[in-house]
């Protein structure tokens, strides 16, 4: 009997249920800039993974005869570096460490920062206040300064570089996570979930995470660009990755003295950093508008 009553209402709605993600995917694919940026970023990641098969030469093998060969030398299309190693191969291999150093801190900070921010946001009250005030302290440092300060104190090394960058990105991610969670927590479906008798942990898992992780993740992807620049910057300063490993920032550093001999060769590693940074930036912008997140 009740069924008959509702038929008028039901006719109005579409017949096929549509998930949230299919809509996001459709909107994203319409955005040509974002798709192009995604292809570049994907290409760089593939290049990093398959570096040994893609690179024409051994990135560590150099002779002083080929030292600083110019771009366009036969067999060395992008020239050779200050130790006579093939530039193209080093740039390709450099993608491994550079991307690793740039992306990993953001991923770790995403996990830790989300956990802190969601916990603070869901708990509210004084737990929230104390957490956010502590994070404010880290906000008092410009990100470059904080990364270099921690890295400088810890000394050079891949692990120290990762650690300092992770510390830099936790506060901003936690802050975004907190504000998104606080907004979600006030919604009635969270109240309804509480009325079901579910524990805070269950509510966060079943009802909060799905609604906050998307926006937090998009924000985190926007940090990859900054992280790439900072990670390479640390190596550029002599912190982070140490020679003879190929890493774009470090390559920029060691080639700096060659600037009067082969100026454009010396600038090549920066092109890679720039390319990675801008493609992640645009990818993140595209994701944000596809997911309709306002910031």
């Amino acid at each position: 009997m009740a069924v008959a009553q509702t038929d008028i209402e039901t006719l109005a709605t579409a017949d096929k249920p549509q998930g949230y993600w299919s809509g996001v995917g459709r909107r994203f694919l319409k955005d040509k800039v974002a798709v192009a940026a995604g292809c570049v970023a994907g290409g760089l990641i593939l290049m990093a993974i398959f570096a040994p098969w893609v690179a024409p030469q051994d990135p560590f093998d150099g002779t002083m005869i080929r030292r600083l060969s110019p771009i366009g030398t036969e067999g060395y299309p992008l020239g050779a570096d200050e130790l006579g190693r093939d530039m193209l191969s080093r740039l390709i291999h450099g993608a491994r460490l550079s991307l690793f150093m740039g992306v990993t801190p953001v991923l770790i900070a995403f996990v830790i920062g989300s956990a802190i921010g969601i916990a603070a946001g869901y708990a509210g009250g004084w737990v929230n206040s104390v957490t956010m005030r502590v994070l404010d302290v880290f906000y008092a440092f410009p990100s470059v300064l904080l990364a270099i300060a921690i890295s400088g104190a810890l000394g050079a090394g891949i692990l120290n570089g990762l650690l300092s960058l992770t510390v830099v990105f936790i506060p901003p991610i936690a802050r975004v996570a907190e504000s998104v969670t606080t907004a979600v927590r006030k919604l009635e479906y969270i109240e309804a979930a509480r009325a079901s008798g579910a524990s805070a942990f269950t509510i966060v898992r079943a009802h909060v995470l799905g609604n906050v992780l998307g926006p937090i993740f998009v924000y985190a992807t926007s940090l990859i660009s900054v992280s790439m620049i900072l990670a390479a910057g640390l190596s550029f300063l002599g912190l982070g990755v140490s020679p003879p490993n190929p890493e774009w920032g470090l390559m920029l550093n060691t080639l700096r003295n060659a600037i009067y001999v082969q100026p454009w060769l010396a600038a090549l590693p920066g092109v890679m950093i720039f390319l990675t940074s801008i493609s992640f930036n645009m990818l993140s912008d595209g994701l944000r508008s596809a997911m309709d997140i306002k910031q």
Partner: protein
């Protein structure tokens, strides 16, 4: 009245409105509210917005912690004598905003199935029962089960919310403005559904609304709230025909009526309710009451029995000299 299924005893809830120490301001959202509900009964709760109806609903369902007072379920204190998790299975709630009260990333079937899984039912069985409940509230489970909240209408969503509450097999459902946001025709359908379900399952409702017509239609008894206090509570017919509190009278007079003879020309209630941060002393209603007299500004009236199960807090009923 120890046979009450749910009762409120001197509930108090004050919200902080800024300031520290002596300058601290509090909103007296709910101030010393007591009442009880008999099994199978529907208690309507009415009042202007900001009178504490919704806060009372959240205190009753323990979604907000009380500052003072207690809620008893079948005579036992909720949260202590009845563990909260059990209490929640017995007392459920349906919210006003049908969209905000559904997780946008959860299908309707899972939204209904979620509650029972919290209480230990395995997911396939919970989903099976959820399907049956969707069917019962008038939604084809094959068609609506896999949908998301934004894909269905407000009336359909509110049916889902009712099904979600039913999934616990509760004794009491608190309906906080549950039909207020719906179109009139849809509202009528949902009200009919609620009436059927009550008969079928012996449910007890606490029906909160600002719409006096709807409350009259569905309630056995009605409670009128003003500025965080109960001013009158009594059987629907008595209260609507012979209100014993000037505020109730004013509310009824302001009610849109289909009967032209009963329409009043002047607005019976002037202005907005006073600020609940600083409620007037004495009877809180005296600043807007057309019949305020001697004791009203100074002494707060106490609830007095004015009929069978009919209480009102007004000096007019108790002080002799006013009766002329």
């Amino acid at each position: 009245m120890s046979d009450a299924i749910l009762s409120a005893h001197n509930l108090v809830k004050h919200f902080n409105a800024g300031g520290w120490g002596a300058a601290r301001k509090v909103v007296r959202a709910v101030d010393d509210v007591s009442f009880d509900v008999a099994p199978g009964e529907t208690l309507g709760v009415v009042g202007e917005s900001g009178c504490g109806k919704s806060t009372t609903a959240r205190l009753l369902t323990h979604l907000l912690p009380t500052d003072r007072g207690e809620v008893r379920f079948r005579g036992r204190v909720a949260g202590t004598e009845v563990p909260l998790k059990d209490f929640r299975r017995h007392v459920q709630m349906v919210f006003q905003d049908s969209y905000a009260s559904l997780n946008p990333r959860m299908t309707m079937l899972d939204a209904v199935a979620f509650g029972p899984t919290v209480h230990g039912l395995d997911l396939p069985e919970a989903r099976r029962r959820a399907g049956a409940l969707l069917e019962r509230v008038g939604l084809d489970p094959a068609r609506f089960g896999p949908r998301y909240p934004h894909e269905i209408s407000g009336g359909q969503r509110q049916r889902v919310n009712i099904a979600r509450a039913l999934a616990f097999d509760p004794d009491v459902i608190v309906l906080d403005e549950a039909v207020s946001a719906l179109d009139k025709s849809v509202e009528a359908q949902v009200l009919n559904l609620l009436t059927e379900l009550r008969r079928e399952r012996g449910l007890t409702y606490i029906f909160i609304s600002h719409d006096l017509n709807v409350v009259r239609h569905i309630s056995d008894r009605v409670m009128v709230m003003y500025l965080g206090e109960v001013v009158e509570i009594g059987p629907t017919a008595d209260l609507y025909t012979a209100p014993r509190h000037p505020y109730t009278e004013a509310l009824l007079a302001a009610m849109p009526s289909l009967d032209p003879d009963r329409r009043t020309m002047e607005a019976p209630l002037q202005g907005d309710p006073p600020n609940p941060i600083d409620p007037p002393p004495g009877c809180r209603f005296h600043t807007r009451c057309a019949r305020a007299f001697g004791p009203c500004p100074g002494t707060a009236p106490v609830p007095a029995l004015v009929g069978r199960r009919h209480l009102a807090s007004c000096h007019l009923n108790t002080v002799k000299e006013a009766a002329e």
